[in-house]
């Protein structure tokens, strides 16, 4: 059964961080594994198997999405941005800058997902209240920071515009 599954493949065309990719993937392959294993973009992390932690959050056609909950095949034709594409060392995204300035990370494992979730959130709500920020992080878990400095990081980015 699983052998048959393993042998069938689906062609996909996906643009990731501005680069077009064509690949043939297992129908069951999760998008996060396409990004990590096929493309080698290991900044997107896996922290659970129940879509709870949000460490794998990316932008799929502009929306923050948990890439462990999407099949690669479902992303055919879409445009993706990962943590590797959101800013550069010289020009950090304001949310990246906020995380650095406000000590919004400790171990850094949840951080890429947090940054991607926060960046998408600020696109829809550029001037959020503290409560709105905390609500927006509903799908992203951090075990190190107690969240306060993550909230401050997002407030920093919002102020920066």
């Amino acid at each position: 059964m699983s052998t048959a599954v393993a042998q069938s493949v689906v062609p996909v065309d996906i643009t990731v961080n501005g680069v077009e990719h064509h690949a043939e993937v297992e129908p069951r392959q999760l998008l996060v594994h396409f990004l990590r294993e096929t493309l080698g973009l290991t900044g997107t992390h896996v922290g659970c198997d129940t879509s709870s932690c949000g460490a794998c959050t990316i932008h799929l056609d502009g929306n923050a999405v948990k890439s462990c909950t999407v099949f690669t095949a479902q992303a055919d034709g879409s445009t993706i941005m990962t943590i590797e594409g959101i800013g550069t060392e010289e020009h950090l995204h304001p949310v990246q800058e906020g995380f650095w300035e406000e000590h919004g990370l400790q171990c850094g494992y949840c951080t890429p997902g947090m940054i991607m979730a926060a960046a998408a959130f600020l696109e829809t709500n550029p001037d959020p209240t503290e409560a709105e920020i905390r609500h927006a992080l509903e799908g992203n878990l951090c075990r190190c920071t107690g969240y306060q400095n993550i909230v401050k990081a997002i407030q920093y980015a919002a102020k920066k515009g």
Binding site: L41, T42, G47, D49, E101, H103, C107, Y109, I133, Q148
Partner: protein, 795 residues
């Protein structure tokens, strides 16, 4: 030339941004799951669905028949590997230590016990193949409760541990003395406390990658470990029986640990042994979250009965504590030290208590192993004594703040021996921290508001919770904690090497290592000020047994107090040599020169100075060294502290409890912590925030649940409630500063303080809100349902 080099900026005490962050915010961190080795194979573990069963047969052939499967093994294939080590057995008592093998043989003792392993070309195939293995089990009776496990008739886990008892340990006065003291007390009270089982839950699960080199017989092992040097030692000496130098251990970036990544786990030697069997192909194991929850260590899980005696005015005269500590299915690496040394010997808290007795019975059950989790014994102790203070307040009618004040150890009492076998507390001003907290929070006004709401019959009740804590960090010296004393099977020193290279650029290698705490930043700040070398010119290297001196790892808030002191002492040695060589270059005698801000000069003539960079160049080229001096600036220190350090403080939590629904609102959280002198306040603040969040989550949200068959009901992140952003309050931090006399920085440690302090602060606040309704105890997590039941039962 000399005058143009200004003294570098002072770095100690500055809240500078972390140098670790650029890579971590850009996706360039290198966690174990990010490593790609050519030819790497993946493991799929076959795990027992039963919590206790005999293994009747294992059929690997369906897995082996699958394309892409390279090999499959059972426990019988690894009988040349010894069971994992029991590195900390409690001192002075018999330990019935039964540790796991890499794969269970004959019998499983918890649901999730690995019984077989398949090796496949990719992770999907490894999982498919693991599911194809057929195992026949004969289920056996199960026990999951740490107290029931020791009762007559309970299912027996291990022949070596009659009645499932791992150890029986006690400290303090003898039973007669404590019973007399209780009988003589003017007021007595008792509490039944369940310090529930927690799951540490670093967001990165655990993993190992091993590569055997058939040419040299050497292994490289990448591990998510807080103690890579210790793992190398334990696996070499105790599990595999090979020389340590045959193994190189590397901890890459680690996605949090909280204690759960200290220990020696099955996958470490298993990946190594399989890599050897398969001719050196790299072997990878990386847990998924469910595997992490069932088979990586848990924390806490105490059942405790407390009796306390006091005077009518609230002075505690006697404390008797009986605890059952559930350590799970097997003895994890340092499991025995947690409920003994780190719990019983800290039970006195900040208080002078003339009569204390603690009895601990540790037991095996059909559950995941329990070992150190952030705070490790100290949160359990702080929870007991801080709940007791509120119980004494309730029994005597004395305000909870005053009960604490009356019983505090006073500043002039240090060093203070609590009489239960802990080393003397180093320094403290407990009342100072309490007073600051009470003033900051407006304690009297809050009490008045609490009373007003009760009198007015309002629906939202106010609760004010205090927690005056003291904890023990940087546990040492080795002669006390080690085998002759508390039973830790090694030392607890740390090491550091400093090399100031030809250009003045400096490399510090340390046996300490971070898993989120920012050592690369803090250690460089420390060394920069000491050496007068710019911060940006100092690099901290760590986490690789090849190229760093031996260290015992990062846990117990010991990195700065022990590892940092090793760096400090190495800077002293560098400065000694720099002064000698500088004097030689200045044609002065060593007695006539001074070292300041990275420069050596003749006393009174700072303008004609030699910089440490110039001296490093001279030491390296070695054209003109004083007679007998070795070239190069290279110094190493192995540092074993004379005592532990004891951070303290007072946390105040204010909650609103809805009288109708039991719902809780965290209204205010104030922490006044004294962690001694601070090198980077930004990092220390972050440690306190995260610690507070974990501790309050124990009070309100988290708890691992097993059913009677030993199935973990909270086996995923949808079931186990680590807090979300909207479930934690805004933390207000304040501090007092009482330097530790134990180390030259005066630092005390900050990694666990928040967790230790916050659980009782929040729990006391909730009970305080409903105490007037006749409620004197609620077990954690204090969910709205439990609060509602408590309020209604008491009515």
């Amino acid at each position: 030339m000399v005058a143009s080099i200004d003294a570098p900026e002072k770095m100690i005490g500055k809240a500078i941004k972390r140098r670790e962050d650029p890579r971590l915010i850009s996706g360039a961190g290198q966690f174990i799951d990010d490593l790609r080795l050519p030819g790497m194979l993946h493991l799929g573990l076959v795990r027992s669905p039963y919590a206790h069963a005999k293994i009747k047969s294992i059929d690997l052939s369906p897995a082996l028949a699958m394309p892409g499967v390279v090999a499959a093994y059972t426990g019988d294939d690894f009988m040349d590997l010894n069971p994992l080590p029991a590195a900390w057995q409690a001192g002075g008592v018999k330990n019935n230590a039964v540790t796991p093998r890499v794969l269970a043989v004959n019998e499983v003792h918890l649901a999730g016990d690995p019984v077989a392993v398949v090796v496949a070309e990719d992770q999907y195939l490894a999982r498919d193949a693991a599911q194809a293995v057929v195992v026949d089990y004969e289920p056996l009776p199960v026990v999951v409760d740490g107290k029931k496990a020791a009762e007559a008739g309970a299912p027996q886990l291990h022949e070596e541990a009659p009645n499932n008892i791992v150890l029986e340990w006690s400290c303090g006065k003898d039973v007669d003395a404590i019973d007399h003291a209780l009988a003589d007390a003017e007021v007595t009270s008792s509490l039944h406390i369940i310090n529930q089982r927690l799951i540490p839950t670093p967001i990165e699960p655990r993993g190992s990658i091993a590569r055997y080199d058939p040419g040299t017989g050497d292994y490289t092992l990448w591990i998510t470990s807080q103690a890579p040097h210790v793992m190398r030692l334990l696996i070499a000496a105790f599990v595999m029986g090979i020389p340590e130098q045959k193994i190189r251990t590397i901890s890459p970036d680690i996605g949090g640990g909280f204690g759960s990544k200290i220990f020696c786990y099955y996958d470490m030697p298993l990946t190594m042994a399989i890599s050897k069997k398969l001719g050196g192909r790299p072997i990878k194991f990386f847990e998924d979250r469910m595997e992490n929850y069932v088979s990586t260590t848990h924390g806490r899980d105490h059942i405790t009965d407390v009796e306390v005696g006091a005077t009518r005015d609230g002075k505690i005269t006697a404390l008797k504590v009986q605890t059952w500590a559930n350590i799970g299915a097997y003895f994890s690496t340092i499991a025995a030290g947690i409920p003994t040394t780190l719990y019983g010997r800290m039970i006195s808290g900040c208080y002078k208590i003339p009569n204390i007795r603690v009895d601990v019975t540790a037991t095996y059950t059909n559950t995941a192993m329990v070992d150190a989790y952030r705070g490790a014994g100290r949160p359990e102790a702080a929870y007991v004594i801080e709940r007791v203070c509120d119980a004494v307040a309730a029994a005597t009618g004395v305000d909870p703040a005053e009960v604490r004040r009356k019983n505090f150890i006073q500043p002039e009492d240090f060093p203070y021996d609590t009489g239960v076998g802990m080393l003397p507390y180093d320094s403290g001003n407990y009342e100072g921290a309490l007073d600051k907290a009470l003033a900051q929070v407006g304690y009297q006004e809050l009490r008045a508001e609490q009373k007003r709401r009760i009198d007015a019959g309002e629906q939202k009740l106010l609760g004010i919770g205090l927690s005056s804590y003291v904890e023990v960090c940087g546990v040492a010296p080795s002669k006390w904690i080690g085998l002759p004393g508390e039973g830790w099977g090694a030392g607890l020193w740390e090491s550091a090497n400093i090399r100031v290279q030809l250009t003045g650029k400096t490399v510090i290698t340390t046996g300490s290592l971070p898993h989120g705490q920012g050592h690369e930043t803090t250690f460089a700040q420390l060394a920069s000020d000491k050496l007068g070398i710019p911060y940006d010119d100092i690099q901290i290297k760590h986490s690789d047994s090849l190229g760093t001196p031996f260290g015992f790892g990062s846990y117990g808030s010991r990195s700065l107090t022990v590892g940092g002191t090793a760096i400090y002492k190495s800077t002293d040695k560098i400065i000694d040599k720099v002064k000698k060589l500088g004097a030689h270059m200045l044609e002065a005698s060593e007695q006539d020169v001074e070292f300041e801000d990275g420069k050596v000069f003749v006393k009174g003539s700072p303008d004609a100075a030699k910089t440490i960079q110039e001296i490093a160049l001279a030491a390296h080229v070695a054209y003109d060294l004083p007679e007998g001096m070795e070239p190069f600036l290279d110094e190493t220190t192995y540092y074993d502290p004379p005592n532990c350090t004891f951070p303290f403080g007072t946390h105040v939590c204010v909650v609103e409890v809805d009288k109708e629904s039991g719902e809780i609102d965290l209204v205010k959280y104030l922490a006044v912590d004294d962690v001694g002198n601070v090198i980077n306040p930004l990092i220390v603040g972050g440690q306190l925030h995260g610690g507070i969040a974990q501790g309050l989550a124990q009070a309100l949200y988290e708890g691992a649940c097993y059913d009677d068959d030993g199935q973990l009901l909270t086996g995923s992140l949808t079931d186990y409630a680590i807090p979300k952003a909207r479930q934690v309050p805004w933390y207000e931090l304040d501090s007092t500063v009482t330097p530790s006399p134990v180390n030259p920085m005066g630092a005390k440690g900050a990694g666990e303080a928040g967790t230790i302090a916050s659980t009782p602060a929040v729990a006391n606040a909730v009970v305080d809100a409903v105490r007037h309704l006749g409620v004197d105890n609620i077990q954690m997590p204090m969910t709205p349902e439990r609060i509602w039941v408590a309020m209604n039962e008491s009515n």
